[in-house]
């Protein structure tokens, strides 16, 4: 199995270069929201280990919200961020990227503070990396290659079934599967289909993963007495704040919404990037750090098989702290339109959103950290849109395929490669087509 990893290069922009950069980034798109995978700056399509990538200008319109706590607007620069999700170690991928798209990246990063035109690009990118505090991968181990091969397999089988309808109708499930397996073997031999077996899982990753799997519960167990003692105090502190924290959820500026909507729904999958400030004070800072840490554990060890609690429309997501935890950035790649994404969140996992985002300035009022909050549907939607950032460039290596499609294709392949024990199982498998 090849585990996935992610990268995020982030650097402040030279103050008067923002609009020039936006123009340059726009040149990578065929139209707003639709990247040219072969664009001359970074030809994403050439990299067969890259799932998703995006460039964003962190122009935070909500920085002033902190004024409700009587604090001055933080003096933060506008950043450029370049982030992506890839197969295998991110460092290896970045090295490949700098080798093959170096000049385009240099052109882009030359808009950033402190970027030396003739310096070591890879080194600069590594120095400016911001680690994700939590990262969700829909299916740890599913590579771009696997996605493509399995989709080709599904398409070939579908065409075969459509083309041999009459013959198939006369056969029982066992015979049909035999037919399909024979067909696939023939296609593989003829070189028309490839089904690469998974690579061995890197030992270092396995070891680290194991220690993380065991280590976090051990640490929690050790801390448990303290945490339990603190719990009543925590609840008092929490309730005090929850009762008084102001909401900032006005309807978003229509122009802002239009800019965002222009970029959406060109594919069945969409991007989402949002930025907000963490509520001031140590209480919120520690609470959100702790919860994101737990979330990361959940993503790595529990929710890595096609769903993040009840939501199965997210391919990749991440939570990143910025500016010494003053701000939290969230990015995801999800299926469907934003309205259905938000509805999924509200109806299926409002409690989970509340846990993390209720620590953000202006979030709709939550109770006991999990209740209400996102369930205040319209305020939540306003909040989301208001904090969302336009993603200037977005690349998806497998357009037209939802996470459910990927899961179906994986199961189809499994049924070809692994024998079934009962006819009922084969029948179930045949229903996947």
């Amino acid at each position: 199995m090849t585990p996935q990893s992610n990268f995020m290069v982030i650097a402040p922009l030279v103050s008067d270069k923002t609009s020039a950069l936006r123009t340059l980034l726009a040149s990578m798109n065929r139209q707003p929201g639709v990247v040219d995978p072969q664009n001359s700056l970074v030809a994403f399509g050439e990299f067969d280990r890259l799932h998703f990538a995006r460039f964003i200008v962190f122009d935070d319109q909500t920085l002033n919200d902190i004024a409700v706590y009587g604090l001055p607007r933080p003096n933060l620069p506008t950043y450029l961020a370049f982030l992506g999700d890839c197969d295998g170690p991110a460092d290896e991928f970045l090295a490949e990227l700098t080798q093959r798209a170096g000049s385009g990246l240099r052109q882009i990063f030359s808009h950033c503070e402190g970027f030396a035109a003739n310096g070591d690009l890879l080194r600069w990118m590594q120095d400016n990396q911001q680690r994700a505090a939590a990262a969700y991968v829909n299916w740890i181990g599913r590579t771009v290659r696997q996605v493509r091969e399995e989709n080709a397999l599904r398409n070939a089988l579908t065409a075969y079934l459509d083309g041999n309808r009459t013959a198939i109708a006369a056969k029982n499930p066992v015979q049909i599967r035999d037919d399909l397996t024979r067909f696939v073997n023939g296609q593989v031999e003829a070189g028309r289909l490839t089904l690469t077996p998974p690579a061995p899982t890197p030992l270092g990753w396995k070891v680290r993963n194991f220690f993380h799997l065991v280590g976090v519960p051990v640490v929690l167990l050790l801390l448990a007495p303290l945490l339990l003692l603190y719990l009543p105090i925590f609840l008092v502190q929490l309730r005090c704040r929850e009762r008084s924290d102001p909401e900032i959820c006005p309807p978003p500026d229509p122009e802002h919404v239009k800019k965002l909507a222009d970029l959406e729904d060109h594919d069945v999958t969409n991007q989402f990037s949002a930025l907000g400030s963490v509520k001031p004070g140590l209480f919120r800072r520690w609470t959100v750090s702790f919860l994101v840490w737990i979330l990361d554990y959940g993503s790595r060890h529990i929710f890595n098989r096609g769903f993040l609690t009840r939501v199965n429309s997210i391919h990749f997501a991440r939570w990143v702290f910025l500016d010494n935890k003053k701000r939290l950035f969230f990015a995801s790649n999800y299926d469907g339109s934003l309205e259905s994404y938000m509805d999924d969140f509200i109806n299926k996992v409002a409690w989970g959103l509340n846990l993390v985002f209720s620590n953000g300035v202006g979030y709709p009022r939550s109770n006991w950290l999990v209740l209400n909050g996102a369930k205040d549907e319209q305020k939540f939607k306003h909040f989301i849109r208001r904090h969302e950032l336009p993603t200037e460039v977005w690349y998806n290596a497998h357009p037209g395929l939802t996470a459910v499609d990927l899961e179906r294709n994986r199961k189809i392949r499994q049924g070809i490669e692994k024998p079934f024990t009962t006819e009922a199982e084969i029948q179930e498998w045949l229903r996947l087509f």
């Binding site: 069945v268 199965n312 469907g336 309205e339 549907e377 357009p399 037209g400 939802t402 229903r431």
Partner: protein, 504 residues
């Protein structure tokens, strides 16, 4: 006024009644030329409007009025008040490319080709006339004649509409409607609803009431000083404001042309000209028989908001719980897409432990498990009307490609939140090529078959079969084309009086 129920005399009747007893209808699309004259005229019209009161004798005619955003502006409603309406209403159905993309209004459906409602062609208001058999023509004529006195110009008459409970392809239509909680008895709060129900909070249809989230939907509120004659009620949750939205609803109107010969001829070819097979195929795409019977068996226990009318129970007491493989009713069947009838958590969630497991996302049985949930937030009230010359399936089969007649439906839906209700259903469920784990297909009846990136085709229809491998219909043409449309506001009687009294 707790528990007094909704003041139905303030609500336009269309919210409550489909006026099935008034088979003739015509919708007049108008443009305001003189705001002051129109306001004066509106005061008169308002007196003749049909309300949602249940009268001892059913009305012989019904009259309703609705406005677009452009209409409210032309009427003299202030910009700050208009900003209180929902963004969907403000931008309009045709107003943004991204919206058209989501609604499937591209290529043949694109607003640029609409007969009305396209760019620069949005009506200001609509008068809706309903009458008994033979009663429409003379009334319509007299209404039209008097329009200039009201400062309005007739843009278009959406007429030629006679309803008999069947839509143009020949299927019984309009049987399944959500039941509105007129008495304001439904208390939902924020708790998960573990059963699918058909009784839906008033706030999903009318502004100014609690919706299914137990919240008030955004709506225009005005400062009491801007309502000097005290025509509006105070907003329930914001007592310092007057509620312009209360007892009003958004009305979505789309003129959908249906290619009846194309539909039946395609079915016929797929069925090798076997009449029984042809009918069966068409019914599997609709999800009901021609007579309206659902394809799935009746649910064993009652569904809140269905019945007690035996006809309603026969036609609507069902969910798809017993058909998780889609063998009786294909996943992509029109009525299954339009209302998948799911509770907030997957069926069979009972007790705390199973609630906990399901809430954490576990306990999945198939790739479709829990893809579609909480359908109660995405219901629409349909008040559509058929238009054009009736054509039976047999006639449709015998003619050439077309008889040159346009026929279809004036699709009308009412809701309090256009984005979460009509647009969501249209986008995620109807046009969605990935609806409920499907791929490569959009709604069998009204899908636009538009290609999407990375997908080789979107013009198929899958019919799951007991034996395992589905039957897949390929090469489906587009049967339904959008010819016009707009988002309207169907104001309350009080709001209309307020509009009529705006000082210029």
């Amino acid at each position: 006024m707790a528990n007094a129920g909704i003041d139905v005399s303030d609500v336009q009747g269309l919210v409550r009644f489909g006026y099935a007893h008034l088979p003739e209808a015509c919708f007049l699309l108008l443009e305001i030329e003189n705001g002051a004259a129109t306001r004066f005229w509106l005061a008169t019209i308002t007196q003749s409007l049909t309300t949602a009161e249940r009268l001892a004798e059913r009305p012989k005619t019904a009259l309703q009025v609705a406005f677009t955003r452009q209409g409210l502006q032309a009427l003299g409603v202030s910009e700050s008040t208009i900003q209180g309406f929902s963004p969907e209403f403000i931008f309009g159905m045709n107003g943004e490319e991204s919206r058209s993309r989501r609604l499937g209004d591209v290529q043949a459906n694109a607003p640029s080709g609409w007969q009305w409602g396209g760019p620069g062609n949005v009506p200001h208001l609509m008068l809706m006339l309903y009458a008994g058999s033979g009663g429409l023509e003379s009334w319509q004529k007299s209404v039209v004649e008097k329009l200039p006195q009201g400062g309005v110009k007739l843009l278009r008459q959406l007429g030629n509409s006679v309803t008999d409970g069947y839509e143009p392809f020949g299927f019984r239509d309009g049987m399944s409607q959500p039941e509105i909680d007129w008495k304001l008895e439904r208390k939902v709060g924020s708790k998960d609803q573990l059963e699918y129900g058909n009784l839906v909070s008033a706030g999903e249809w009318l502004l100014g009431y609690l919706n299914e989230y137990g919240k008030y939907t955004d709506r225009p509120l005005v400062d009491p000083k801007d309502d000097p004659e005290n025509k509006l009620l105070f907003a329930e949750e914001q007592p310092g404001k007057k509620d312009l939205g209360r007892n009003g609803a958004y009305l979505v109107l789309r003129q959908l042309e249906q290619n009846v010969p194309g539909f039946w001829q395609f079915m016929d070819a797929q069925a090798n000209h076997d009449p029984k097979e042809r009918r069966k195929l068409a019914e599997s795409m609709v999800g009901r028989t021609i007579e309206g019977e659902p394809l799935v068996p009746r649910a064993s226990s009652p569904i809140a908001g269905v019945g007690p009318d035996p006809d309603d129970i026969r036609l609507n007491q069902f969910t798809y719980e017993s058909d998780s493989d889609g063998i009786r009713c294909p996943f992509g069947a029109h009525i299954r897409r339009a209302n998948p009838r799911n509770p907030d958590l997957p069926y069979g969630t009972k007790g705390f432990l199973s609630w906990l497991i399901r809430t954490a996302g576990f306990g999945r049985k198939s790739i479709r498990d829990d893809l579609i949930a909480s359908t109660r937030f995405h219901r629409v009230l349909r008040r559509g009307r058929r238009y054009g010359k009736r054509l039976s399936p047999d006639e449709a089969l015998q003619m050439g490609k077309t008889d040159g007649e346009e026929r279809g439906i004036y699709f009308i839906s009412l809701n309090a939140n256009i984005g979460r209700q009509f647009e969501f259903v249209q986008n995620a469920w109807i046009m969605g090529t990935k609806f409920d784990g499907l791929t490569e297909e959009s709604d069998a009846l009204i899908g636009n078959r538009e290609l999407i990136g990375g997908c080789p085709v979107t013009n198929t229809f899958s019919i799951p079969l007991e034996s395992g491998v589905r039957r897949r219909i390929t090469g489906m043409p587009q049967f339904v084309t959008v010819r016009g449309g707009a988002y309207f506001f169907l104001p309350s009687i009080r709001a209309l009086r307020y509009f009529a009294g705006i000082a210029s």
